[in-house]
Amino acid sequence: MDNIYEIKNLSVHYGAFQALDNIEMTILKNKVTALIGPSGCGKSTFLRCLNRMNDLIDNAVVTGDIRFKDDTKDIAKVNPIELRKKVGMVFQKPNPFPMSIYENVAYGPKRQGEKDKKKLDEIVIRSLKQAALYDEVKDDLKKPALSLSGGQQQRLCIARALALEPEVLLMDEPTSALDPIATQRIEDLIAELKKHYTIIIVTHSMQQAARISDYTAFFYMGELREFDTTNRIFTNPSLKQTEDYVTGRFG
């Protein structure tokens, strides 16, 4: 099986605060990896290291080595724009731009210099179909994205990320702002998307992690405590702490 990320000695500091401590992890291609752990344990920080979004935080210092695919270089030495084209991201709160649905999905390709109207149309329709949103919005792609419901907005954000044909999708608690039915649809979508994409998802819901992921990583106080197949983590974890967390006895 292929590795998509190989992470060694990854530490992150925000000023004096150490958010991540010496993480070692290998993430496999075309699998869903769930990151779980109590609030403030560093799982979102870890996720944001994978497409270098921590660069945007003024006092964040990232050390260590992250290899993306077969790259011989640490991703810190790669152009972040090239990296982010291959690693899409979906945020906690749906954040479509205040533009039309079409413009939202076409945003990424357009910024990469795609001007051909026909190609853009194709990309928009393909991405919306992949995100299982096309049937609901096909009548009016010029509609403002902010007029959609929360669940639709989140699927639009997924479509927007897919428009760049990334290899990895990073999802930071994508369903925490959604109702159960919208959550269900996103989970179905993840199951569908994992055939073509590697998905790394941060979640606070144990059930969600158990339902959708192949591998689960348990973070605690900035450390990676346990990383194994989801089955193992939820049925027979090697640490007592992990068991306590997944069974809801703390956190």
Binding site: I81, R84, G88, F91, F97, M99, R160
Partner: protein, 395 residues
């Protein structure tokens, strides 16, 4: 419990008192300006020159036909002998004058030989100042219209000399130069101000240099505009005289002075507008492989569009209202030639000029104030409309 109720009601009464007094004050200002100024407000004021031109001459020939009364308004006196209708009217500045209301195409008044050579055809709208007769006393404007009518109608009188005025008092030049100033200043101040605001919001690192620069800019916005006027007079006028065809005070120097006054305000308000664009939009844009410049261009600036337009509107208000700084740069002599390399005062300076005359012309000044109010209102509404149009399809 009672104490709290007392506190709450005191507070509420205070807010009511404030809003009532503010509304009353604003109403009073409007009422004063309108009641004073509405009398002189008409379209001719906006399109006429300020400078009056006087002519002195006599009829070129004594042959003219009989004239028919064209049935004019009741206050117009038709003089059958010469085929003209004259009436007592108020000119643009509010003075009583004798105005030509009707001139027959065959009237001798259409062919006047001027004293200094050349000829003149009297048209309606011109005013009659004085008519001198051969061996008879002259009729003056100041003696009133009835005297003038009877002197002109008297068959025994022969006209020796006539004196006319093409009336002035219009504010066309001031209006046009105000519009020029608005255009020029916005062209200078908006690109620089918006780009600087964008720099502070998106690109500046939060270090000591940035903080000092920001404080410095904030300080600039507290400087009285008359100080900027001094800078305009001593620095910007010499600069523009050296680099442009201008020979003295000019509208470009005026626009530069106004830009200096406005820059700090534009930078601060646009920066705030950019800061208010939600951070998740920026993150989403960057996560989609856009760089910072693209994010600024396609997300941050469109997101702050309404605040940019509000800033523009505030700037226009300042430009229209500024007088202290412009008195130095544009002078107060109202002129009729307008050009970017010429000097002619803006409407606000025009008001200042009218009020420093002896006696001050409050009425015309109020009329100009009404015009300023109307211009501001039109610009305000059009900007609101523009914002609505630009936001269509976004929300």
């Amino acid at each position: 419990m009672n104490k709290r109720r007392f506190k709450d009601s005191t507070f509420n009464v205070m807010t009511f008192i404030s809003i009532i007094s503010v509304t009353f004050l604003l109403g009073m200002i409007f009422w004063f300006v309108f009641s004073q100024g509405i009398g002189l407000l008409n379209f001719r004021l906006l399109t006429s020159d300020n400078q009056a031109v006087n002519y002195v001459g006599a009829f070129s020939s004594d042959n003219y036909p009989e004239f028919m009364d064209p049935s004019l308004e009741s206050d117009v006196h038709f003089i059958e002998r010469y085929g003209i209708g004259i009436a007592e009217r108020r000119d643009l500045a509010g003075n009583t004058v004798i105005e030509f209301v009707y001139v027959d195409p065959d009237s001798p008044f259409t062919d006047i030989a001027l004293l200094n050579g050349g000829s003149l055809s009297v048209t309606s709208g011109m005013t009659l100042n004085r008519v001198a007769f051969i061996e008879r006393p002259a009729a003056q404007r100041s003696q009133g219209i009835m005297n003038m009518v009877s002197a002109l109608s008297d068959e025994g009188n022969t006209i020796r000399e006539l004196s006319f005025t093409r009336p002035g008092g219009g504010i066309r030049a001031s209006l046009v130069s105000t519009l020029y100033l608005i255009g020029l200043t916005l062209v200078i101040v908006l690109p620089f101000g918006i780009m600087s605001g964008l720099y502070f919001s998106e690109f500046a690192k939060n270090n000591r240099l940035t903080r000092i620069t920001r404080n410095f800019i904030e300080m600039l916005s507290g400087i009285p505009s008359i100080v900027f006027g001094l800078i305009g007079l001593s620095v910007l006028i010499p600069f523009t005289v050296r680099t442009t065809p201008a020979t003295g005070g000019n509208l470009i120097a005026g626009a530069l002075t106004l830009s200096a006054i406005l820059l700090p305000i534009v930078i601060r308000t646009t920066e705030e507008g950019f800061n208010n664009v939600p951070r998740p939009y920026r993150e989403a844009s960057l996560a989609l492989g856009a760089n910072r410049t693209q994010t600024s261009l396609f997300i941050v600036i469109p997101g702050a569009l309404s605040s940019i337009l509000t800033t523009t509107f505030l700037a226009i208000g300042r430009i229209i209202g500024e007088s202290a700084a412009l008195i130095f740069v544009l002078g107060t002599a109202v002129r009729d030639r307008v050009g970017v390399f010429d000097r002619s005062p803006s409407l606000a300076v025009h008001i200042w000029a009218l009020m420093t005359r002896e006696p001050p012309n409050i009425e015309l000044a109020s009329t100009i104030a009404v015009i300023i109010l109307i211009v501001v209102l039109i610009l305000n509404l059009s900007i609101k409309l523009l914002v609505r149009l630009l936001h269509r399809g976004r929300y």
